[in-house]
């Protein structure tokens, strides 16, 4: 290997210590400025794309606000049993004497009902915290299950092509041609009420979004040269699909999933509001809104309004986070 150095013999020579690669066997390009002198066995840490995405996520104020609100809601929902003033499910705690108290009144054992009480004498703050639990659980679990099913089918359809792809995608088209709320209503009318049944209904109406999203990005990724390289290395097909193709289709999936959590929560609230969702014993935010709806015009505004505000905050927070994720993860918007 020749470089410019042969001539240097006639001239003052830069020593190797000065960082000038002299040896023929080791082209200078190998020695990045940052890792000069590091002995080979000790690898330096690589900066993954994830870490880079995380740092650019936090460049947006609205995303930070959204994330803070979201984390606060999730924490409040998770920790509800420990700091809610009352267990709203325990009928022994409830006293019909406390019903319809406006915000700020004293109820039960001298606690303050900051957000008032409902027609059963339930503390609204406690009911909202517990309702948030139900809503978030239903939203997150349905999205998780739907995403796993949808993503697997989508990536398989894209990689397999041909009839498999046609079949999966026609089912997706069929699914998406019905309004989600209609499908969910029919399913719940058949299944009956129940948290698990709501989750199943939501999975059924949502998986197609993920299948379509993942197939779309998998079709793009499939043509990239690193997939060809994996095939050239005769790697097993399963490994190519799940280790090479799928991880590179995840970013758009994350964006869709985030926004879909908000949609799932809204959908569940609607179903519960219509009376086909979660059972009365485990009231979600939607159910609380429905309960108070009748009293809205009779001046007892708080029973419906505060759960509604909580719902809006959660959904807006998730959407703020989702929007930022889209900006960060979309390579076309980057730079």
């Amino acid at each position: 290997m020749t470089d410019l150095t042969p001539h240097a013999a006639a001239r003052p020579v830069a020593g190797p210590a000065a960082g000038m690669p002299q040896s023929a066997g080791r082209p200078g390009e190998a020695a990045g400025a940052s890792d000069k002198g590091v002995p080979p066995p000790a690898p330096d840490k690589g900066e993954s794309l994830l870490r880079r995405h995380v740092s650019s996520f936090f460049e947006s104020w609205s995303a930070i606000i959204g994330l803070v609100l979201l984390v606060a809601s999730v924490a409040a929902a998770l920790l509800a049993p420990w700091f809610a003033p009352q267990d709203p499910y325990d009928l022994a705690n409830l006293s019909i004497m406390d019903n319809m108290l406006p915000p700020g009144e004293i109820f039960g054992m001298g606690q303050t009902a900051y957000l008032g009480t409902d027609d059963q004498g339930r503390d609204m703050l406690s009911a909202i915290l517990y309702g948030l639990r139900v809503s978030l659980t239903v939203g997150a679990s349905s999205v998780l299950i739907a995403a796993v099913i949808g993503a697997s089918l989508g990536v398989l359809a894209a990689y397999a092509g041909g009839r498999v792809e046609s079949f999966v995608m026609r089912v997706v088209d069929l699914q998406l041609s019905f309004p989600a709320i209609l499908v969910a209503l029919v399913l719940l009318a058949v299944f009956g009420r129940g948290v698990d049944k709501v989750v199943i209904a939501l999975v059924v109406v949502q998986w197609a979004y993920y299948a379509r999203t993942v197939r779309g990005s998998a079709l793009v990724e499939k043509r990239r040269e690193y997939i060809e390289a994996a095939r050239c290395l005769a790697l097993p097909r399963r490994r190519i699909v799940f280790r090479h193709l799928l991880p590179n289709c995840i970013p758009p999936l994350i964006v869709v999933a985030t926004v879909q959590i908000a949609n799932a929560i809204a959908l569940e609230s609607t179903l519960s509001f219509l009376g086909v969702g979660v059972p009365v014993t485990e009231p979600s935010l939607g159910m609380l809104i429905a309960n108070g709806y009748g009293y809205l015009l009779s001046g007892n505004y708080w029973i419906s309004t505060f759960p509604g505000v909580a719902l809006v905050i959660v959904i807006v927070a998730i959407n703020l986070v989702g929007d930022r994720l889209r900006d960060v993860l979309n390579p076309r918007l980057a730079k």
């Binding site: 290997m1 020749t2 470089d3 410019l4 150095t5 042969p6 001539h7 240097a8 001239r11 003052p12 830069a14 000065a18 960082g19 000038m20 690669p21 082209p27 200078g28 390009e29 400025a33």
Partner: protein, 338 residues
């Protein structure tokens, strides 16, 4: 001495990035006369494209022209308002890009775009403008130009599209045409066609041509003079034949040696070690010093100034590869291989 059509002096373009202020173009000066072809050669990150964009006044934030002057036909462009620049752009200075779709609108027909380009700068009837557009297409070798005027850009092949972009750029007979690697994405035979047409057109209209490329061999056949850029600076300039035959700067010599060529089959190429430096982390002295086989202590501490040499040449180097003036011309590239 006549005043040059394009006169760039001490141009400095900076970009503010996350890693701080980066000087992409640093003290670049050159002048091009009417009908002259200058090659601007460099690798990625050398600042050659930014220089081209600066001439058109197309540096957008976070970039800005920090210092220097750009004169087209003795009119200063630096510091002009966007409105004033728009009058100059397309009329006195035009640019063609590697991707012709940078300048062509995909949803408008060719004739609409070309007529608009003419009428933006001149009061002519639509009919006259259309005729001029047709003639321009014919000149760049587009068959049946009258029909092709009614086509949309996506109905042309890559080579044809680039011709349309060139015809559009030359519609108003600009004094200066900046071409940023317009043939790099094209096949060899198509590249040759376009080179020959641009060459003929510029000679005919007296347009000064700045041809930006990474490919020295294109410059060899096309240009009168050449400026070689490295890390934002012009490291060597001069008449093309002299620079290619007897490079003064070791980087130019290395570039020439790196071009695979028939003389050296199977023998390793004279490579330049190391990588192109990051502009945000330039060494204090000569930016090429870490890769240079001739670097000495001053190279690592003192930034070399532009030094003129006989024959209209200049270079920025502390240890120039000076070939004695009276010896027969040696092939400097071959000299580098033992």
């Amino acid at each position: 001495m006549t005043t040059p059509v394009l006169d760039v002096r001490d141009l400095q373009v900076t970009f503010s990035t996350r890693e701080g202020l980066v000087t992409a173009v640093d003290g670049v000066s050159f002048r091009v006369d009417a009908g002259e072809v200058m090659g601007l050669v460099g690798e990625s990150g050398s600042g050659k494209s930014v220089t081209g964009l600066a001439v058109l006044g197309l540096i957008d934030p976070p970039g800005r022209i920090a210092a220097g002057s750009i004169k087209v036909k003795a009119t200063e462009l630096v510091g002009q308002s966007e409105k004033a620049l728009q009058k100059v752009r397309g009329k006195d200075v035009a640019m063609i890009f590697q991707d012709p779709m940078t300048t062509l609108n995909p949803v408008l027909r060719i004739d609409t775009q070309m007529i608009e380009a003419i009428r933006a700068h001149e009061q002519v009837s639509e009919k006259a403008a259309r005729e001029r557009a047709r003639d321009a297409l014919a000149k760049v070798g587009i068959p049946s130009p009258e029909e092709r005027l009614n086509a949309y850009p996506n109905q042309f092949s890559g080579g044809m599209r680039q011709r349309v972009a060139i015809a559009t750029a030359l519609l108003n007979r600009p004094a200066v045409l900046v071409a940023d690697e317009p043939t790099t994405a094209l096949d060899v035979t198509i590249q040759a066609q376009i080179l020959s047409e641009v060459q003929a057109l510029c000679a005919e209209t007296g347009t000064a041509l700045v041809w930006i490329t990474h490919d020295l061999s294109v410059i060899a056949g096309l240009a009168d003079k050449v400026a070689v850029m490295y890390a934002g600076r012009v490291v060597e300039e001069g008449p093309v034949a002299d620079v290619l035959e007897r490079p003064i700067h070791p980087y130019t010599a290395g570039l020439i040696g790196s071009v695979p060529s028939r003389n050296k089959r199977g023998v390793p190429l004279a490579q330049i070690p190391g990588m192109t430096p990051q502009l945000s982390k330039l060494p204090p002295g000569c930016p090429f010093a870490p890769r240079c086989g001739y670097s000495t202590d001053p190279c690592r501490t003192i930034r070399p100034e532009r030094t003129p040499y006989p024959g209209g040449r200049a270079a920025r180097c502390h240890n120039p590869l000076d070939v004695p003036p009276n010896t027969p011309k040696a092939d400097a590239a071959r000299e580098l291989t033992p």
